[in-house]
Symmetry: D2
Subunit: 299 residues, 4 copies
């Protein structure tokens, strides 16, 4: 919008995405748009949000270089300068959208989310490669391998108190791939606080209820018992508190009195897949900013 | 479906609705359809549900007389005989859909649900007349009166502990109209247990959240604090436990990070109106059967 | 976002809304945000869209004066200067959101949309007063009058070829109120081309189908005949071509094989009301920009 | 509902599904339920619909044998007797739900629907095996083969007038698998009338628009040009007239002014997958009855 030639028609051509949050104040937009113009960048897509309650300002700027690609390291240094001008609390992330991002997926026995993600990754729809799948059961090994993705089986002891080393093993396996995101695709294990902390802002879970209803185990059974008329799914960042992390996306599907728990499970899979895929894509494209325990999503 | 001339094309011509629940067993459908055929009735619309968990069977039969109208009292006696054959636990209701049903509406200051119901009643869409509106504030008097509906103002003391006589007054006022339903259209007062019991299966509330999330006061504030991506409304029967009665209908509407509480309030009104109107119509047409703390809805 | 004190939490405090479209080019955002800053304005809400296909840029800026209110006429002159800098094709509108806007509603016999709009206007939700209702039938006179709104009955001859003077009468009646919008709330008469032209960008229609399906008369009958599984409603600007104007908002509702035309009519009313109210509010808040035969909606 | 022991909690245990349509008349329900009782069957799930316009009655009865499995051929003969009693126009289908049904999928280059169906078939969610995939391009061969499903590539000539032998080849390949359904999963080729006729009531297509809008080629381009605010997908039986067959299921997804055609394509895939999977499941479970050019769906 700022620079000479008309912008290209898609995200596909944009090279850089800046996501930034800072305390609101005078002239911020002018400062940011001028910064991009001075770089020789052209804004392709922009989102802005001023939150009056917190007094914070958030933006996402997708821009491309008008001439040759920027030197990414130099760009980071200049962005750090910009951030400094916006105050010490400023949080920002910059990524080069031409560099495909990397995901590691944690699973248990239920394969519908993994299957969906593998399909989206293979077709190029998901802006990431799935580097590896890690399961606490071996059931989904062949599904991963059929897509050419390595599968690691980590045995989890029955006793929750003894699962520390298993989680540590998962962490090591995953971190070797240097993932931009760790996706809990119906992993069914609660990450210990230190692992939630380690992957803060990176680990994304799909919970099979419309949060905050039906936290914890067997949410479809809870929904059936309560007699709700819609069931849902929620995609959220993992935090130390179970199913309480910042929500990225939610969806619902209508059910009726004839639907048993197993019908809810079946119908719920459709909304789980969709909500996870959408939330994950937004995360990978730098569309999600976290502030406190809430998200700003420039969808 | 059972009788000679083709059925008429709508509920409007049907005269009788039988709603019935009983323990499931052999030959129930045959028994019920034969009963209607032998009466000289013609089934216009029928719903069936067998619940394997509880072992109960539920049905709703809308039928009309092939010749002249039935004698309603005689019909009730014959239906009671049928019910006796189906076992002592059988629950049933019969109503003549040509007799318009009566509703009393309880309100506070927020008029959007009342305005919507008054409009639907005036246009004939709601299968009931609104006999009276009772408010714990006088704000909506003119709205009711503009539609020719009497308004009663009952003053509620500040101290919840002293509200007993006010509720008793509301009960007396409402019961004088012999209502088929008492609608809490954003009444904002929790009925005391004895009044919930008195109006059991008749009192319908609209709660401005997607239950069981955000029970109690200020649900939009709770939703805002949690950062959900959809807000909802739930229409349910009133029971002694707050916002825990059998749910009749629910709906949701999408919001985003830019929506403040007052935006949620505004958008939520649209879904509250719709969910209440739908749930109330189903109740009035005998489409809702309550079993335990859940509903079967033959919508 | 640009100026010193934190922005207020709502549209309610914003005084001015600038909607603007122009050919895209370098530095436009900086130009516009600087313009507002130099005025002494503080941006409360901002939307941006660059359309690569057409090479146009669109924005909506809601801002308020930091100190005392602006002189609106002076503001218009300065905005005209800004627009001139952005090129001769630039289109813009500015309004003072503290000045309540005016609507005239055209109706026929169906009152559900009118009733809904009157309720929203009375509660302050609709950012406009309904100045008058004009009907080609007298049926809705009492509904308007109960809300204190004047009603004009204009008789339309049976023969479409002779309706010119009736439309001319409608135009004169409506224009006397100097409306910001003319709402066809199930008016059921096709405006002649010269009247569409006269009210271009101001006249808003609700069509009871999901356009472009089922253009013209009796769309629910068409939908029933085709056997669709969802029915819809579309809110659009009126143009000379029937039901072909720029679409502002659409919605759908699920039906099934048991729904007759009259059931679709009933259920469709719920989505018509909602879609019209939403589209109209967006129009009145300057959120809708028309370009070619499409809209940009900063919802 | 008719017979002694309480019904099992799911479709999974039901063995037989009878779908039947006939001219409406007296005592039909009693006749059908008595028929099942006399067989020694127990009704697990039942749907009924009387269509007053056409004067037809439709039902779907899922039942199981109380003791040992029925002799399917004997059951067919007895059902044919029942149908004869209901009149010569009676149409019915009976299938044993314990016999897994067979599907053949026709594809082109777009793999999202195929990938989704393969996943559902592999997990047991789809009540059918995918026997083979036939493509007019070789692109999806490896996707089919990774799931152990044979893939056949049939070359289609550029000139539509010369495609007859290719279609004939497809027909022969498909028919060798004796499919219960032929799924056009974004096949992008219009079946010739004789092939539509040959697979009447069996061939199911997913069209990437909300029919009847945007029939034919490039519906997302058409949707973009018209400026609609929701895009959709429709699952329908294939008939000789393009995209005009009886609709089984439809769905929509919200878009906005920022979505280009390629964004619609991406988002549309999510609704295409869902609508096709749902419609196909209903077809396979005998939930869809066709009458004229409309469907009755006992979902």
């Amino acid at each position: 919008m700022n620079d000479s030639p008309p912008a290209p028609d898609s995200q596909r051509n944009s090279r850089y995405v800046l996501s930034l949050g800072c305390p609101d104040g005078p002239g911020i937009i002018t400062l940011i748009t001028s910064f991009i113009t001075e770089l020789g960048g052209s804004i392709v897509e922009a989102g802005y949000h001023a939150d009056a309650d917190s007094g914070w300002f958030f933006t996402r700027q997708a821009f491309r270089s008008e001439s040759e690609p920027f030197d990414t390291e130099a760009l980071r240094l200049r962005t750090a300068d910009l951030a400094a001008k916006l105050g010490p609390e400023t949080e920002w992330a910059l990524h080069d959208s031409s560099v495909r991002r990397k995901a590691v997926v944690l699973v248990s026995k239920e394969g519908h989310c993994l299957h969906d993600l593998l399909g989206r990754a293979a077709s190029g729809e998901l802006p990431a490669t799935i580097e590896a799948v890690i399961g606490n059961h071996p059931d989904l090994a062949s599904m991963a391998q059929a897509h050419g993705v390595p599968f690691h089986h980590v045995v989890f002891p029955q006793d929750p108190a003894e699962r520390g080393p298993a989680f540590e093993h998962v962490r090591k396996l995953a971190d070797e791939y240097e993932p931009d995101t760790v996706v809990l695709a119906r992993f069914m294990q609660v990450l210990p606080p230190e692992l939630s902390e380690h992957w803060a802002g990176q680990a994304i879970n799909i919970h099979h209820s419309f949060l905050p209803s039906f936290v914890g185990a067997r949410p479809y059974h809870q929904a059936f018992a309560r007699g709700v008329k819609l069931i849902g799914a929620s995609c959220h960042y993992v935090t130390a508190e179970l199913d309480a992390g910042p929500i990225i996306e939610q969806g619902v599907i209508r059910i009726n009195h004839a639907d048993k728990v197993h019908d809810m499970v079946r119908q719920g899979r459709d909304i789980e897949r969709l909500v996870l895929a959408r939330g994950l894509r937004w995360h990978l494209e730098g569309r999600v900013l976290v502030h406190g325990h809430k998200t700003i999503v420039f969808a």
